[in-house]
Symmetry: C2
Subunit: 334 residues, 2 copies
């Protein structure tokens, strides 16, 4: 497990959503490891794609602007890839409720187009799919286990789960190599900071840096777990390099000692940003209340066991790094 | 519960897939109960739609040919409906693997178009969705419970489950009335008999009536449960008339005494048809083996408890009625 980083030297690695938050952080890490990343991104307006994300490695990666729904482009691009980190999807819970057809078009149809391309043109590629805690919706218990039944509360969650199932079906029926990582609240550098429609934790970092009120819905007492982006990219790197991960889904989440209420996390953001921004409680907007899951924390023992993964970056450290990054590169994200 | 049949007198009831197997049997029952069925069907080639299915009630129902993906038509048709039995979907496991995009187009996109129409134009209609045992895929235990995690083995199963989740999401977030019935192997009059791509039990009835070899894959020892169509339509009638069913999913299946291996069931079909057709074991074709779930029987206690439902028609009786029907009306189904 310790030599999983060596796995990437000279590998051909494709990342869908490669110019977004997770994709670009993964690309930077892959360049350090000696891989040759191909970054595929649709650059949809208001999604996470941002060329500045890869500024530091722009000469060491290949960028190809294409949507996963573009069957011809994807069929061409997957050819010859050793590993595909499949991250490019619609990611807003809220948007999935106001425009459910768009969510299904990207996250159902798009994922099938992607998988058909892999089946036909790159059947030996190792695919790691970016799943989501949204697949569970309201958890039947906490911490939630990978084997628990799923009750998504929004169309995004239903479709993210369907798409994970597509991957597992293609694994069992067609022999594709597929792993899913069910990602929780992730924060860090290179997230879009323009709106609050997804990636709410990063949005609060912006509010704090702007010294604006940190408007929390209700009491904010819902328990959550949080991952710094480097820990999530580490899980992707481990997954594709681990034979045992083939056909498996894994929860990602905090160490138990770092699980805390959303309000406590926001207090911490305010404290570390030190701009005088204060937490303000406001009533839940109807459209957010309708898709709220209550307490949610994940049991990550399976990822620890199979992948040797654990979240290494402490919240205080991760938040400080994030705040420093956006202070320094604000003009490219605000 | 006993007066659920009275609920339908004078009701406006729409059935999607209304000219198909379940839809037409339900329509005939609704006419008997004094309802006014509107039968909406896309009449896609090789699907179950058949005008002869409603020959006996053709003057007492309204037929409207339209696809659930036709947003304008569906928005118009749902208006003023008290109850909507939503049955019209892509139903072939096999086809969902050879043409996954079509399955997603009907069963994901189409269901969202349908639900958006209900949300906007018939928000108080009671919707009963035809779910499927395919949602479970390989069951984690048998008999399988509604609360068990789902591991679909084909795209059909993944999308049927996503669509059930859409219904529940629209229930919780938008207040729609929604129930799902997870239907098992159903047989009876008015099923399409032209091919074996879905409704395999009915196909064997045809083979027996044609005195052709009853080719069972492998040993046929997988345990299954079976419902006569009248029992399934009874569950639909009970569901929409039962307040408690709102927001719930229910398994349908055999009484335990009538669960048996697929081979035993086929032996019974051969015996009752009495044409001399014999069971022949052939190797599993790859494309069927890839999506086979092994033993599957459902725990139906929840439907018994909440809906007062139980499968009333014994296998011998149901199979006899089915065989008689097709002998009499063969020209319209062969």
């Amino acid at each position: 497990m310790d030599n999983y980083l060596d796995y990437y030297k000279g590998r051909r690695v494709m990342i869908t959503g490669g110019l977004g938050f997770l994709g670009s952080n993964l690309a930077i890490r892959l360049v350090e490891l000696g891989a040759k990343p191909l970054l595929v991104d649709a650059m949809l307006p208001l999604y996470g794609g941002n060329l500045y994300n890869i500024e530091s490695v722009k000469d060491k990666v290949t960028v190809n602007i294409a949507d996963i729904r573009d069957a011809g482009a994807i069929a061409h691009l997957v050819q010859g890839q050793d590993v595909i980190f499949h991250i490019g999807n619609q990611t807003s819970h809220l948007d999935s409720m106001t425009d459910p057809l768009l969510d299904a078009d990207i996250n159902c149809r798009g994922n099938l187009i992607f998988l058909e391309a892999v089946r036909q043109h790159a059947p030996s590629a190792r695919v790691v799919y970016a799943g989501s805690r949204a697949q569970y919706g309201k958890p039947v218990r906490i911490p939630v286990l990978e084997t628990d039944a799923t009750y998504p509360v929004d169309i995004y969650g239903a479709n993210k789960h369907a798409a994970e199932q597509y991957h597992m079906i293609y694994h069992h029926a067609h022999g594709l190599w597929a792993t899913s990582l069910r990602i929780s609240n992730t924060y860090g550098p290179r997230h879009q900071m323009k709106h609050a429609r997804y990636g709410i934790l990063n949005w609060f970092i912006r509010l704090a840096l702007d010294a604006r009120p940190l408007t929390v819905y209700g009491t904010g007492q819902q328990l959550r777990d949080y991952n710094y982006v480097d820990d999530v990219t580490d899980a992707f790197l481990r997954a594709a390099a681990t034979d045992k991960a083939n056909g498996e889904a894994y929860n990602l989440g905090s160490d138990q000692s770092e699980q805390m209420s959303f309000a406590a996390l926001i207090e911490k953001v305010a404290m570390l940003a030190a701009t005088g921004a204060e937490l303000v409680s406001v009533p839940w907007p109807d459209e957010r209340k309708a898709i709220e899951t209550g307490d949610f924390v994940a049991d990550c023992d399976k990822a620890k066991r199979d992948l040797g993964w654990h979240p290494a970056v402490k919240l205080d450290d991760g938040l400080r790094r994030t705040i420093d990054f956006y202070r320094q590169h604000k003009e490219h994200y605000w």
